[in-house]
C-alpha cells in the first residue's frame, strides 16, 4: 500500500487485461467494487497509452518546430550572404567599367601628349 492508502495497480497492456478481467469477474460475482476497480484500471491503462502517444506527438511537434526555426535562420543567413555577394559582384563590375573608362581617358591623354610633342618638334618657337 502507498502511504496515502492506495495500492499499486498494473498499467499498460497488462493493466488493461487485468482491468477487463476484474470488471468481468466483478459483474459475474455481483461485486461492484471489483468491477469498478477493473473499469478504473482499464481507463487508467487507456489514459497511459494516450499520454504516451501525446508525449510522442509533442516531441515530434517540438522537433518539427525546432527544424522550422533552424531552417528559417539558415535561409535568412543564406539570403543575406547572397545579397552581400551580389553587392560585391556589382561593385566589382562597376569598378571594372570605371577602370576601362579611366584607361581610355589615359590613352587619349597620352595621344594628346604625343601630338603636343610632335607640334613642339615641328615648331619649338610656339611651345605652349
Amino acid at each position: 500500500m502507498t502511504p496515502d492508502n492506495r495500492e499499486e495497480v498494473a498499467g499498460g497492456v497488462l493493466g488493461k487485461v487485468a482491468g477487463r478481467l476484474k470488471e468481468t469477474a466483478g459483474e459475474a460475482l455481483g461485486r461492484d467494487d471489483i468491477a469498478r476497480e477493473g473499469r478504473l484500471q482499464q481507463a487508467g491503462a487507456d489514459a497511459e497509452r494516450d499520454a504516451r502517444r501525446a508525449g510522442s506527438d509533442a516531441r515530434d511537434e517540438q522537433a518539427a518546430a525546432d527544424v522550422e526555426t533552424d531552417r528559417a535562420a539558415i535561409e535568412a543567413e543564406r539570403a543575406r550572404l547572397q545579397a552581400e555577394a551580389d553587392a560585391e559582384r556589382r561593385e566589382a563590375q562597376i569598378g571594372r567599367q570605371e577602370d576601362r573608362g579611366e584607361a581610355a581617358a589615359d590613352r587619349l591623354e597620352a595621344q594628346a601628349r604625343g601630338a603636343e610633342r610632335r607640334a613642339d618638334a615641328i615648331d619649338p618657337e610656339e611651345q605652349s
Binding site: 499499486e8 481507463a43 499520454a51 508525449g55 509533442a58 522550422e68 528559417a72 581617358a105 601630338a115 615648331d123
Partner: protein, 155 residues
Amino acid sequence: MNPLRTVVGTSIKAARLPLDIAGKLLGRSDGTALDRAEAGARETAGAVLGDEQLQRDAARRRTAADQRDEAQELKEQAKRTRQRTQQQAARKRRQADRAAAEREEALRARERADRLEALDEQADALEAQEDALAARDEAKRLKDAAGSVKARRTS
C-alpha cells in the same frame, strides 16, 4: 640669315605680341588661331617676296597648329570620357544601392514571416506538450483511483 625675312618675322611677332599678352591677361586661349594667322601672314609675305623659306616656315607652323589642335581635341575627349565614366559609375552605384535597399527590405519582411511561422510552430509544440502533461495527469489520476478502490477492497 635673310635680313628681309628677319624684318618680316620680327614685324609679325611684334604685331602678335599685344594679342598674346591680352590673351594671357584675360586668361583666354584662342587655341591656335593666332598661330594660324601668323602662318597665313608668313605665307603671304613669302609669296609676295618670293621667299620659299618663309612659305616653308608658314607650312611648318600650320602643321604644328594642326597637331596642337589635335592634342587639344584629344584632351577634351579624355575629359569627356572621364566625366562620362564617373557619371555612369555614380548612376550604377545609385541603382545598386536602391536595389540593395529593396532587397534588404524584402529580406526583412521574409524573415519576419518566417519567424512568425516558426513561433506559431513552437506555440503548437508547447500546446502539444501541455496536452501530453494533461494526459499524463489524467492517467495518474485514474491509476490512483483504481489503486484506492483496490486498497479499500483488500483492507
